[in-house]
């Protein structure tokens, strides 16, 4: 530990190969640093982050009895941890390290201004040294982590993440807003490129999730509010009024009766018929319903918007089960978890907004998801693909790829690739050729993106099976008013001429977008989004499962378009990442929290409502005086209170007023270094 003494600063300047040294004079910056007050040693090295580079820091600390270390290199997001450890290993408190970002914020942006970049690097080093002179020893704080996790979203990603967490011995709440888990994958007929039956490979996982002793499955439930921080999230759940209770719920409510066993007697007597959203409205369901026979949990749900409360269901359910409660209301419960995984999935864009394709206007234009239901043996047509207009089996099927994807025209269109449409359209083409002898699929594409394992091979297979590929975006679909056939107009960019193909039915591979309530969930959990609306990962390459909010992780399409293998892979990654702090039992928090200087605090309490994290409160001292106190684990060190306090009684650790003033002085007073 450093005794109270005159600061002794070491400055280390990194070449970063030619990333920095190619755009500014490192030698000049070193020479300049040596002239700065309190700088004892200034050196440069090819790669400061390398082992010799770090050793250089450690040795300098011992040799020159340094009190502070400045490294001028890349961004703290990349190597601050590296240099902090080097500082600690050299015998200094790790928070006596300061970084000047002369790469991302200098050499990379001023690549063609040698003198300007060199001068700016000198400024940056001078500013960093000014702060380093005032750095203090700090100790990170540890908080305990609740031995439980929550997964929001019960699609294949959420199911996989829950199973992994639960199997690792962690109590896991799996939250699903619809009555059954399964998500999009349960709506698919087959999966590419293996042509497995989607439901067949998914349902074992659904069943496992439903009966795993460590998984607390909350279907028909939504997240109402979120409080707390990593290790200690307090989450309020809204259990939507389902109208039925299962055995456990009957017992918990202290009611007599065995509860819903999924017998379905109720649905047979229900007089209200509504479109089934699971089948995209192409099949009916009753007001008391399950989506499909393989739902988990197998428990009926009443659509109270449609229910006429005739009571027939309750009557037939009988007093022995007594599962139905027509007066049920939403209930709330609070659960405490250490980490959360978001797996909220996707919707299709409203493809009817692309009016040139006439979806919802032309009966025989459907989406890829509707095709899945129509080709699925458990779907509304028993797996017979038919034209919605007349029930006739189509012999020419058009597929419009990139329908709203890779499209910069604005509105509902998305500039990004939705990543699975090429592959599922190839699969669709295979399915129509397999199920309908003589049926010809016409695939209109920009590029076929078959990038995964065995995907390209699948593409060749479909070509060899006889699918027609036309490279060109579809300009418009025109319905023949009499036959209801669809004329597909496109430019064949390989032939260099326009083509029109008359098809019996056309399938739009519509782009995907975040769920409608994704934004609300994002704000509740306090995570960021990328400009396209998907949840933002902590790092696109090196931390794809984490977020910038500690303790919140991402799985599946909510983070960006991806297919089932990628979703499952990310879910397992997220589960693994989330289990680390839970198994460790505690997390270390950066000691950047605010501190109340009690001798200066007037106890006015004006800072308390300013805090976005509810980290501040008032306490009484022994002498009866009121002062503010900080719940350090909740504090994110944002500095709002510190800037607000009229008495200057709040100290922001590692960003104290003297430190920041010294940096400003160093910048504005130039070479004077703020000393004179």
């Amino acid at each position: 530990m450093v005794e109270d003494q005159t600061p002794r600063i070491g400055v280390f300047i990194c070449h970063c190969g030619t990333n920095i040294a190619g755009s500014l004079s490192v030698a000049d910056v070193v020479k300049y640093a040596q002239t700065l007050p309190n700088v004892i040693v200034a050196k440069d090295y090819q790669y400061m982050c390398s082992t010799p580079g770090q050793t250089m820091i450690k040795e300098a600390i011992a040799e020159h009895k340094l009190t502070g270390v400045v490294v001028a290199a890349c961004t703290p997001r990349l190597h601050e941890p590296t240099f902090r450890i080097a500082t600690r290993e050299g015998g200094l408190n790790e928070f006596r390290f300061e970084m000047a970002n002369i790469r991302d914020q200098n050499s990379w942006v001023h690549m063609h201004d040698w003198d300007g970049a060199t001068a700016k690097a000198k400024d940056q080093v001078r500013i960093a040294v000014a702060k380093a002179r005032l750095l203090e020893d700090l100790t990170p704080k540890s908080v305990p982590v609740e031995h439980a996790a929550m997964v929001v979203g019960g699609g294949v990603g959420g199911i996989q993440a829950s199973l992994d967490l639960a199997s690792a011995g962690i109590k896991t709440y799996l939250i699903e807003q619809t009555p059954s888990i399964g998500g999009r994958m349960s709506q698919l007929d087959k999966t590419f490129p293996t042509l497995d039956c989607s439901q067949c490979i998914l349902s074992p996982k659904m069943v496992d999730a439903g009966r795993h002793p460590n998984i607390i499955l909350k279907s028909y439930t939504e997240v109402e509010s979120v409080e707390g921080y990593i290790g200690n999230f307090e989450i309020t759940l809204r259990r939507k009024a389902r109208g039925t209770r299962n055995a456990a719920e009957m017992e918990a409510a202290g009611l007599k009766g065995s509860g819903c066993n999924g017998c379905g007697d109720c649905t047979s007597v229900c007089p209200v018929i509504k479109p089934n959203p699971f089948e995209f409205g192409m099949a009916p369901r009753k007001a008391i319903y399950i989506y499909h026979p393989q739902v988990v949990p197998l428990q009926y749900t009443i659509d109270f918007d449609a229910c006429v409360k005739c009571g027939l269901c309750k009557e037939i359910c009988g007093p022995e089960k007594a599962a139905i409660d027509l007066d049920m209301v939403d209930t709330f419960e609070k659960v405490k978890v250490g980490c959360v995984i978001l797996a909220t999935g996707y919707d299709l864009i409203p493809i009817e907004d692309k009016t040139e394709w006439g979806y919802k206007r032309y009966e025989n234009v459907i989406t890829g998801l509707e095709f899945e239901r129509l080709i699925c043996a458990s779907g509304p047509t028993g797996g017979h693909l038919i034209r919605p207009s007349d029930g006739v089996t189509p012999m020419k099927v058009g597929f419009v790829l990139c329908a709203g994807s890779r499209d910069n025209t604005g509105g509902s269109s998305k500039p990004y690739c939705s990543r699975f449409c090429c592959m599922y359209s190839l699969k669709h083409a295979h399915q129509v050729m397999e199920k309908i002898p003589g049926c010809v699929p016409y695939i209109f594409y920009m590029d076929i993106r078959s990038f995964g394992k065995m995907y390209e091979e699948f593409y060749y297979r479909i070509q060899n099976e006889g699918a027609k590929f036309i490279r060109g975006r579809v300009a418009s679909l025109q319905e023949d008013p009499v036959t209801k056939n669809i004329y597909v107009k496109a430019e064949d960019t390989l032939l260099g001429r326009p083509v029109t193909v008359e098809c019996d039915i056309v399938v739009l591979a519509a782009a995907i977008k975040p769920k409608a309530d994704a934004e609300h969930i994002r704000q509740m959990f306090g995570i960021s989004k990328s400009q396209d609306g998907w949840y933002l990962e902590a790092h696109p390459k090196l931390n794809p499962c984490g977020t910038t909010t500690a303790g919140i992780f991402l799985a599946g399409v909510c983070q960006g378009p991806k297919d089932i293998p990628d979703t499952v892979g990310q879910a397992e990654g997220a589960a693994s990442a989330a289990s680390i702090p839970i198994h460790k039992g505690e997390v270390e928090l950066e000691p950047y929290f605010a501190q109340c200087v009690e001798s200066l605090c007037a106890g006015c309490g004006m800072c308390i409502p300013q805090c976005p994290y509810k980290a501040l409160s008032l306490k009484s001292l022994d002498d009866g005086r009121q002062v503010m106190t900080v719940t350090e684990a909740k504090c994110k060190g944002c500095g709002t209170c510190g800037g607000y306090c009229p008495g200057g009684a709040i100290k922001m650790q590692h960003f104290t007023s003297p430190q920041i003033c010294a940096q400003i002085d160093a910048f504005l007073l130039g070479g004077l270094g703020g000393e004179q």
Binding site: E356, G358, S476, Q478, D480, P481, Y487
Partner: protein, 301 residues
């Protein structure tokens, strides 16, 4: 003529209406008068100029000539109303561009200074059909109320035309792939608007195609006529004299070149409205059309 109606506009005639289809011009003035819209002569107006013929060759000439027409209306202190999609493309779009691009406006004003004119950007440009549809000016109900001889029992196909509706991002008509507002206006006259395949396809004439490659233009027109006939239409209505020319005289040329006869009456919406307001075919110069409209006229007797 003193202004005595609620709404008055500088009436930009264009070239084709006065030279080829005087009925378009006459019906616009007569039907508007019955709807409280006064069309005042825009004296000294030139060609719009044609967006394909001029715009494709020299944009600066296109800007300057259109701006001169706009200046004439600015001097009158009136918004422009017009009845041709090509004129709409030129006059509306140049007005829009000059209002939003200082550099372009300065350049155009440099040219206009030679004839002591200056574009100020003080007026708006409207297609008469959109004024009919606009509830603040007229509205479908007022159009329906003006009808004295409903076109009941007739099936009328609608052609919007490209220059009116597109490019979508520069226009304000909402859906340009399946618009229905002209159908609403046709319905207000008592006729049944019919939908046909590829409704938004070009008439074939625009963009200089008719001038450059007549057979190609007629091929497009022919496809449209097939689709319209298939839907059982008794007549086609449009809001552009150039589309009208292509559909009307084009039928004669199609008969000559392809040997196909359609005998489909082609009526500008204003002519159709005039008939519904009880005017005679002669008043509306419908007898000057290349395709005989008798079959349609008999249906509405």
């Amino acid at each position: 003529m003193a202004t005595h109606m609620e709404h008055s506009y500088a009436f930009f005639l264009g070239c084709i209406a006065p030279n080829r289809y005087p009925g378009c011009e006459a019906s616009a003035i007569k039907t508007s008068a019955k709807l409280g819209i006064e069309l005042l002569p825009l004296k000294g107006a030139s060609c719009c100029p044609a967006p394909g013929a001029f715009g494709s060759i020299d944009l600066n000439v296109w800007y300057a000539m259109a701006a001169r027409n706009l200046c004439l209306a600015e001097e009158m202190g009136k918004d422009i109303a017009l009845i041709c999609n090509g004129c709409y493309k030129s006059i509306w779009e140049v007005n829009h561009k000059l209002k939003h691009n200082d550099e372009l406006r300065d350049g155009v004003n440099e040219v206009l200074a030679e004839i002591d004119m200056q574009y100020k950007g003080t007026i708006n440009v409207w297609h008469l059909a959109e004024l009919y549809y606009d509830d603040k000016i007229c509205g479908v109900k007022k159009v329906a109320d003006s009808v004295t001889r409903p076109l009941t029992g007739t099936k009328v196909a609608v052609h919007y035309g490209c220059h009116l509706m597109k490019p979508q991002k520069d226009r304000h008509f909402g859906d340009t792939e399946n618009p229905m507002w002209l159908e609403e206006l046709v319905g207000a006259l008592g006729a049944e608007p019919v939908q046909y395949r590829n409704k938004m396809q070009c008439c074939g004439a625009g963009g200089g195609v008719r001038g450059y490659d007549l057979l190609h233009a007629l091929d497009i027109t022919n496809e449209k006529l097939i689709n319209i006939k298939e839907a059982g239409a008794d007549a086609l209505t449009e809001v552009c004299p150039f589309c009208q020319l292509q559909f009307d005289r084009g039928q004669v040329e199609i008969a000559q070149n392809f040997g196909k006869k359609y005998n489909l009456p082609i009526l500008h919406f204003n002519e159709l409205l005039g008939l519904a307001q009880g005017m005679t075919p002669a008043e509306l110069a419908i007898d000057l059309h290349a395709v005989d409209c008798t079959s349609f006229l008999e249906k509405i007797q």
